[in-house]
C-alpha cells in the first residue's frame, strides 16, 4: 500500500527511493499508512511440513519465515550428562536474493544469518523455554538433539521477530517419538508421539531508530520496520519479552543514543505486542 497514489509520487519513489522515505518519515508518516506504533498483521501456520517433526510458517507483511524441527538421537556431553541439545540454525534462503550482500548464509542490513543464529540461540536457551533435562533419555548415554532450522523465505525488514516466533511455534508444535532402552540399544517406537514440555517462551519485537538531524533531541522510533524504512534508519532495538510479561532480552545495535524513557516506551510496546502474539499462538495451536 502506498500512501499517495498520484503518478508523480510513484515516479519520485522509483527514482529517489531514499529521499522519498526520508521525507515521509521526517513528516511522521509511514509508507504503508501505519502509525509509528503499529505492527503489520501476522499470520502463523503450524505443522504444515510433514517431513519435519515440528514446523511453523510465519508471515509478517512481506516477510516470510519457515522453521522445521527435527530430532536426532545423540550422546550427551560428559560435562552435562543429563542435558539434551537444541541446535539452532538460521539461514536466508537463496530465494531472498540476499546473497548479493556477500555474507555467507545471506543477510540484510542489520542481521546476517550468523548473527541471527547466535541471538536466537541465546534467547531460547536463556529463557529456559525447554528444559534440556527433559530431552535426556538415559543419563550419560542417549539424549535427544533437536535441530531447529529457520529458513527466511522472503525478507522485508529485520526478520528477527518472525524468526523467533517461528522457532518458538515450531518447538511447541514438535512431537518426538517415545524411546525405550532395551539392552543398551535405543528402541524408537514411531507409533506414540509426545509433545515437548515447554515453559515460558520469548517473543521478540524490533524497533528501528532514527534521528532527523544529528543535533535533534527527539528520536523517531518505528515499530516493525519494513526494508525501506530499515535502510533509512541507522539503528535497531530488539526487545524479547516472555509470554508472562517478563523482559528476557534487550539488544540495541547502532543508531543514536537513547534515553531510558525511550527504552521504557519500547519495552511497554513490546509487552503489548507480546500479549497479541500469545493469543495468536494459542489460537493456532488449538
Amino acid at each position: 500500500m502506498v500512501l499517495s497514489q498520484t503518478k508523480m509520487d510513484l515516479d519520485f519513489r522509483l527514482l529517489f527511493p531514499e529521499e522519498f522515505i526520508k521525507q515521509i518519515l521526517d513528516e511522521g508518516y509511514r509508507e504503508d499508512g501505519r502509525s509509528h506504533n503499529q505492527t503489520r498483521s501476522t499470520t502463523l501456520t503450524v505443522g504444515s511440513f510433514k517431513s519435519a517433526d515440528g514446523s511453523a510458517v510465519v508471515r509478517i507483511g512481506g516477510t516470510c519465515v519457515a522453521c522445521g524441527v527435527k530430532g536426532e538421537l545423540a550422546n550427551p556431553r560428559a560435562i552435562s550428562p543429563k542435558d539434551g541439545f537444541i541446535v539452532l540454525n538460521v539461514e536466508y534462503s537463496l530465494v531472498t536474493g540476499s546473497e548479493k550482500l556477500g555474507a555467507i548464509g545471506g543477510g540484510e542490513k542489520f542481521f546476517s544469518s550468523q548473527s541471527l543464529t547466535q541471538i536466537i540461540q541465546d534467547i531460547i536457551h536463556s529463557s529456559k523455554f525447554i528444559n534440556l533435562e527433559h530431552l535426556c533419555i538415559e543419563e550419560g548415554k542417549i539424549c535427544w538433539s533437536l535441530n531447529v532450522d529457520v529458513v527466511v523465505l522472503s525478507c522485508d525488514g529485520p526478520v528477527i521477530d518472525a524468526c523467533v516466533l517461528a522457532a518458538v511455534s515450531a518447538l511447541k508444535n514438535a512431537t518426538l517419538p517415545s524411546v525405550e532402552i532395551e539392552s543398551e540399544k535405543p528402541l524408537v517406537s514411531m507409533a506414540t508421539r509426545n509433545h515437548l514440555k515447554t515453559g515460558q517462551y520469548p517473543l521478540m519485537t524490533s524497533f528501528a531508530i532514527h534521528k532527523k538531524e544529528v543535533s535533534d533531541t527527539n528520536i523517531g522510533v518505528l515499530v516493525d520496520p519494513t526494508d525501506d524504512e530499515a535502510q533509512y534508519c541507522t539503528g535497531i532495538v530488539c526487545i524479547a519479552v516472555t509470554n508472562d510479561q517478563k523482559l528476557t532480552g534487550l539488544y540495541k545495535y547502532g543508531g543514536p543514543a537513547m534515553t531510558s524513557d525511550d527504552i521504557q516506551k519500547c519495552i511497554r510496546k513490546a509487552k503489548k505486542q507480546a500479549t497479541i502474539l500469545v493469543k495468536l499462538i494459542d489460537n493456532t495451536m488449538k
Binding site: S51, A52, A66, G68, N89, L94, T96, D156
Partner: protein, 241 residues
Amino acid sequence: MADFEYLSPEGLRSDGRRPQELRVLSCNISHCLQADGSAYLQQGNTRVIATVYGPHDVSRRSEAQHDKAFINCQFSMATFSTSERKKRPTGDKSCLETSLALKKTFEAAILTDTYPHSKIDIFVQILQSDGSDKAVSINAITMALIDAGIPMKDYVCATSVTLINDTPIVDLNYFEERGPGPELIVGTLPKSGKIVFLQVNSRLHIDNMEKVLKEGMNGNQRVHTILDTLIKKHLEKSILT
C-alpha cells in the same frame, strides 16, 4: 521392498491414483514482492518456491556475454525437507548438479538474445520433498519466469515417469521414486513437443524407452494445461485489483 505394492492388481497406486494421473497441483504466484518474479508450487506433498531476479547487471565481468543473457540458477533444499535431515542445504554435489542442469534447460527455453550483457538469477528452494523434486522445480521456475515477464519460447513443463510391471507411472512420489523401476525425468516445450530436459536414472531397457518417454510427454501436456489456467486466473485477479 517386496511387501510394498507400487501398483495394485486393480491398477491403483499406493496413494490411490491411476498410473497416468498427476498429483494435485496448486500454485501461488507473485507472493514475494521483493523479487521480480516468484512462484510457490505445490504438487502433492512436494512444495517448492522459485524466485527470479532480473534481467539486471552482471555482478562479475566474466559473466557478461555480448550476445545473450547470463543465466544463473541455484537449487537448494531445506534441511527439514526430507525425512532424514539434510546436513547441507546447498553446495553438495547433487544440488550443484541439479543447478547446472536447470541452468542449461532454461538457457534453451529463455530468449536470451533479447538481453545481452545482463544476468537473470533463478533461485529454487525445496521446502518439502515428496518425490519429483526436479520436475516440480522446473514447473515452479516456469511460473516464476512468466511472473517476471521474461520472454520464453514456451512453458517448460516437466514430470517424472517410471516403469512398474510394464506400466508407465507418471508423477512419482517419494516411494515410487526409490522403487525398483528406472526413473525418467522429462521436461518439454508443450506446443512444439520438443524435449529440453531429460534425465534417466537406473537401468531403462532401450525397448521400453519410447513408451516411457511418450507417457512423460503426455503428462507434460496435462501439466501445461493446468499451469496455463493458473496463470490466466492470476492475471484476471491482478487486473481487477
